[in-house]
């Protein structure tokens, strides 16, 4: 059995720990560190100095030539110890990194740099000494390189704990701190301008970097400008996509307020000693600057889990990932409880938008809302509150937008909710306010954008048509015809005697109509404050008899043959679309067919429902001829009708697309089992039509007979 030497053990540990380290580095995002590991992590800053010092010594040792100083086993042990320490420190570093709030970019460099150091240290152990000895140049380079790697990457670690300026040369920066002075003494520069510059500009212009020779650390330097002169105002006002825009696109941008503060202050001459107090209280710079609170970037934002606040009726969400600000929406007013709102008290300082539209709110709810002191946007549309109730909203100093649509507001009291300087937008709609009073408010508060909406109550508009909700137009026995209109409070008038419906004389629709004979229903709706609708009409045909068979003597065009002969007696009416398979269409021939009854039947009236669409070359039927037979072989003429006058009246201006019925009455007829019909089409379309000379189409669906 081979003796296990301590050297072997240490080397084996390296073989375990280094791949492990690599793995952790790759999947660091998924790593969860418990309390014990994070305690181990705390040792990182303690232990790290040993491998650094050792590493520097080893570099020097390798660089110079390590033969004469140490014996080989000692040397090897030292290298191994160094490698082990380096790896352990890196490991601790990974654990500690999960616990704190560090600059992500620096951390990333430090993390992989630490890994590189561990692996380089391991390399020294793995690669035989003779290899180094044989290559002096490589040896020297390695020595220098290793020193540089150690210095650069461990310095990143220093920056993480001691700030970006760790170990940088002392700088000539005045007043880098935000000053706490009472408002009576503080200057505009100290109160607002300087904090803005410090937060958003001096990292590049004044701190460790001085880009474009511009320093924004003192008023003289600001006025002096950079290598392009003083372009401060110009650059911050460029559009974001302009290359010269400042701050650069990827950096934190100036807010609208900050932009205004700098602009106004510079316009005043950039006076360093101008105190806030010396400004006019109504001056916009005073308003902006006195409200300005520099964002505190160092303080880690607290982000409690919001699951407990969310329910089916309340949605509570962070503005975005990493934000501490919260948006709240309430839904389904019928389930609203004040308790839902009370529950939000724990996070009330973080809530910036609150949407309570359609919630049945009361005064007590308003009191709770009044505690949400950082609220910027409040939606109280249709909340059933009264103006008196919301007068209590006195603590919402940061409120920018308030929506009060649907709230009944007394003109005199509206002004009481407007606190100058706070609100920027107010949405008031359908509030029963007179335009005149609103206008005076709008002129009185020019800084507030009022959206009053269109009040169209008084504008006169035309009603849309009612709908006759009976698809079938064929009356076999009787038919129920409902008429519907969707607007509340309309009066539906109708006629069944072919007269035009009017608001006075025509009957008012109350219940569905019951029809049992050929009827044209005409209907129209009326309402006060509206123009009456167009007339809607629909004709219902009585078809008391039904034929048993239809035998088509001429075949319809293959494209428009429906379901064959039965198409015209299936009680399904063809609609305006002639290609829907419910029509029989003829153009090359007349339409000829035989209608057969099992028992001889007397016909008094036959109605052909036909389509006319001149744009599609579909013209009226020219004539209808009826013949009858007892045996189905010899027919005798009964009646014929000529309709050619209809299409003769058409001119170039004609553009008809409608369904029309052609009725033929048969006098004094006997009962026959066989009837033969011939429907003639127009053989030559007149010259005014683009299809002149070609035969016109006829389209027929449904034949009714009584």
């Amino acid at each position: 059995m081979k003796k296990i030497s301590s050297q072997n053990v240490l080397e084996n540990i390296l073989w375990v720990i280094n791949p492990y380290l690599l793995l952790l580095c790759i999947f660091i995002g998924k790593l969860n560190v418990g309390p014990w590991l994070s305690w181990i992590g705390q040792w990182h800053p303690v232990v790290l100095h040993f491998p650094i010092v050792l590493g520097l010594c080893i570099s020097l040792y390798i660089f110079v030539n390590y033969k004469p100083i140490l014996q080989e086993p000692v040397e090897q042990k030292l290298f191994t110890l160094h490698a082990l320490l380096a790896s352990l420190v890196a490991l601790f570093g990974i654990f500690i990194s999960k616990g704190g709030n560090y600059d992500k970019n620096i951390l990333l460099i430090h993390q992989w740099g630490g890994l590189a150091i561990s692996y380089l240290a391991w390399l020294v152990v793995l690669v035989p000494k003779a290899y180094f000895m044989a290559r002096p140049l490589f040896r020297k380079l390695f020595g220098i390189g290793y020193v540089l790697v150690i210095i650069i990457f461990t310095h990143k670690g220093g920056q993480l704990t001691h700030g970006k300026d760790a170990l940088s040369l002392p700088k000539n920066v005045n007043n880098q701190t935000i000053i706490n002075k009472p408002d009576s003494l503080i200057t505009v520069y100290e109160k607002a301008v300087q904090p803005i510059l410090i937060n958003k500009c001096v990292t590049c212009h004044g701190g460790d970097k001085i880009k474009g020779d511009l320093q924004l650390t003192s008023i003289e330097l600001i006025k002096k400008g950079g290598k392009h002169g003083n372009q401060l105002l110009e650059r911050i006002h460029l559009s974001l996509n302009d290359e010269k825009h400042m701050p650069p696109v990827d950096n934190k941008q100036l807010t609208k307020e900050e932009l205004a503060i700098i602009t106004k202050w510079m316009q005043l001459g950039g006076d360093l000693n101008k105190t806030l107090k010396a400004l006019d209280k109504k001056d916009s710079l005073f308003i902006l600057a006195s409200q300005y609170i520099a964002p505190n970037f160092n303080k880690a934002t607290e982000q409690p889990n919001l699951d407990a606040y969310n329910s089916n009726y309340v949605s509570v969400q962070y503005d975005f990932h990493g934000a501490s600000t919260i948006n709240v929406n309430f839904f389904q007013g019928s389930f609203y409880k004040t308790a839902y709102l009370e529950k939000l008290n724990k996070i009330k300082d973080q809530i910036i938008t609150l949407n309570m539209q359609n919630m049945p709110l009361q005064k007590k709810d308003v009191d709770i809302i009044n505690g949400f002191s950082n609220l910027e946007k409040l939606n109280l549309n249709y909340t059933k509150l009264k103006i008196e109730d919301i007068q209590g909203l006195t603590s919402l100093k940061k409120l920018k937008s308030l929506s009060l649509a649907g709230m009944i507001i007394d003109n005199n009291k509206l002004e009481s909710i407007i606190k100058p300087g706070n609100i920027q937008k107010i949405q008031l709609w359908a509030n029963g306010l007179f335009k005149k009073d609103l206008n005076s408010l709008i002129t009185k508060y020019p800084s507030i954008a009022f959206t009053v909406g269109d009040n169209l109550e008084d504008s006169v508009m035309k009603l849309n048509k009612p709908s006759i909700q009976q698809d079938s137009t064929i009356i076999t026995d009787n038919v129920i015809v409902p008429i519907k209109h969707f607007l509340n409070g309309v009066t539906i008038k109708y006629t069944i005697d072919d007269s035009e419906p009017d608001s006075l004389n025509s009957p008012t629709y109350t219940a569905p109509l019951k029809l049992n004979k050929n009827t044209t229903v005409k209907t129209k709706v009326f309402k006060k404050g509206w123009l009456s609708s167009d007339v809607v009409q629909k004709t219902f045909y009585k078809s008391s008899l039904s034929a048993d068979t239809i035998i088509l003597l001429t075949q319809p065009d293959p494209k428009y043959m429906g379901k064959g002969g039965n198409t015209i007696i299936d009680h399904e009416l063809g609609e305006m679309n002639f290609g829907n398979g419910k029509w029989l269409g003829y153009s090359k021939t007349n339409m000829e067919f035989i209608m057969q009854f099992k028992n001889p039947t007397q016909l008094n009236e036959v109605i052909f429902n036909s389509l006319i669409n001149t744009g599609s070359y579909i013209f009226p039927i020219q004539s209808i001829q009826v013949e009858a037979s007892l045996d189905g072989k010899t027919y005798k003429a009964l009646q014929s009708m000529d309709y050619s006058a209809i299409s003769k009246a058409y001119t170039k201006e004609t553009n008809i697309n409608q369904v029309q019925s052609f009725t033929i009455k048969i006098d004094k007829s006997a009962a026959y089992p066989f009837y033969k019909f011939t429907l003639r089409n127009l053989k030559q379309i007149p010259t005014w039509h683009p299809g002149k000379g070609t035969p016109a189409w006829i389209f027929v669906d449904e034949v009714f007979f009584n």
Binding site: W15, Y20, P128, N312, F320
Partner: protein
Amino acid sequence: MKEFIEHGLNQNRRKFLSKLSLGIGGMALGSLMIPGIFDASNEEDLFNNVLPHFAPKAKRVIYLFQNGAPSQLDLFDYKPMLQKMHGQDLPASIRGGQRLTGMTANQTKFPLAGTRFNFTQNQNTGAYFSETIPHIASISDDLCIIRSLYTEAINHDPALTFFQTGAQVGNRPSMGSWISYGLGSENKNLPAFTVLLSKGKGNGQGVYSKLWNNGFLDSIHQGVQFSSGEEPVKYLSDPEFIDRTDKRKMLDELADLNQESYKEIGDPEIVTKIQQYELAYRMQMEVPEVTSLQNEPESIVKMYGPDCLLPGTYAANCLLARKLSESGVRFVQLYHQGWDGHNNLPNELIGQCKDVDQPSAALIKDLKQRGLLDETLVIWGGEFGRTNYCQGALTKDNYGRDHHPRCFTIWMAGGGVKPGVYGETDDFGYNINTLPVHVHDFHATVLHLMGVDHEKFTFKHLGRRYRLTDVAGNVVKEIIS
């Protein structure tokens, strides 16, 4: 000396393997500490928790899709040059040999067709509007009009699919599904993505459910179609003899059974099914409240036009879109068919505008007067534009226009866009002069407005990561306020 070095470097296989086993041991130790390390879905969960990436300007989207492609030259992109050269051939230098559809590729002539309509100009923004859309013109101070959109597809279905899913073949998730997946629903009682359809009288093109499909995303993110009529969501209401407590009990039992079979089989669709039943149960309460238009005040009815009470009309859908959106639906997708004016375009256009103009403008005004416009992004536009030359017979006041993917106009309002006119086409309205905006750019911008970085928002499927913008797309910063 050389041999000496080589000897040192000679790791024999046994030694290497034995050392390696230690390394693998180290790895194994690592995997114990990171439980989800080999779990592929974990990564998606991880990013899911970090949306939105930054502060969103828009919380909800209403997309008024004008299906069939409205003619930009007769609505927004005014080109006096075309009127001057009415009937003359399109110069070959302008066309530049670019492809045409099969419908006009065989035409021997390409006579330019100037618009028949008069245009008015907004003095503040410089935007032009044709006389057919007076209501939209009246809200032009709120509109961000982009005249330089372009797409890759030249026919309806691929172009529509491209606009909705970011790809021309129909197997990717729709935009609304992506939003639903990334941001979820605000209101737990309604789906995050809903779809409303309507049809104008003009020449129409079909819309298919693949346009609001969830693709490879979980099927809970599929668009829920609200149909016209008595029952807006099909099969939602219970049979008469089931009351809500019974239903609750049944769903609980069913969920238990489903959970068991999920444990056994592990198909994520089973979990989806449970969620869908739950959502449907909660929708039973909320949907009737949201979809009932009867309680809208009369001035709202007048604003959208009285057709808004007629289920299935564009006006009704606009009103419904507002109600759904204010109730927390993230993405409301409307489609209005009938813009495909290959012939008789001016007359069809008048009819289409009559349906669309007033309700579209009313929706913007309505959102604004409720204080919701600045958090709701409204988008209005088709899948491509129409040609500057005439398809078929050209007369003084009648013409047709073919498909034109190289430039067209859409507009947006609210939700963080900057009102104004962006992009410019050439004098012929054929090519883009400035600020070309590709469909991918459009998607990237919409996601950006919702607080989502389109490059980080991915889903891993069949071994690769997919984005709505695939591997392209730049945020159009110019239009962001």
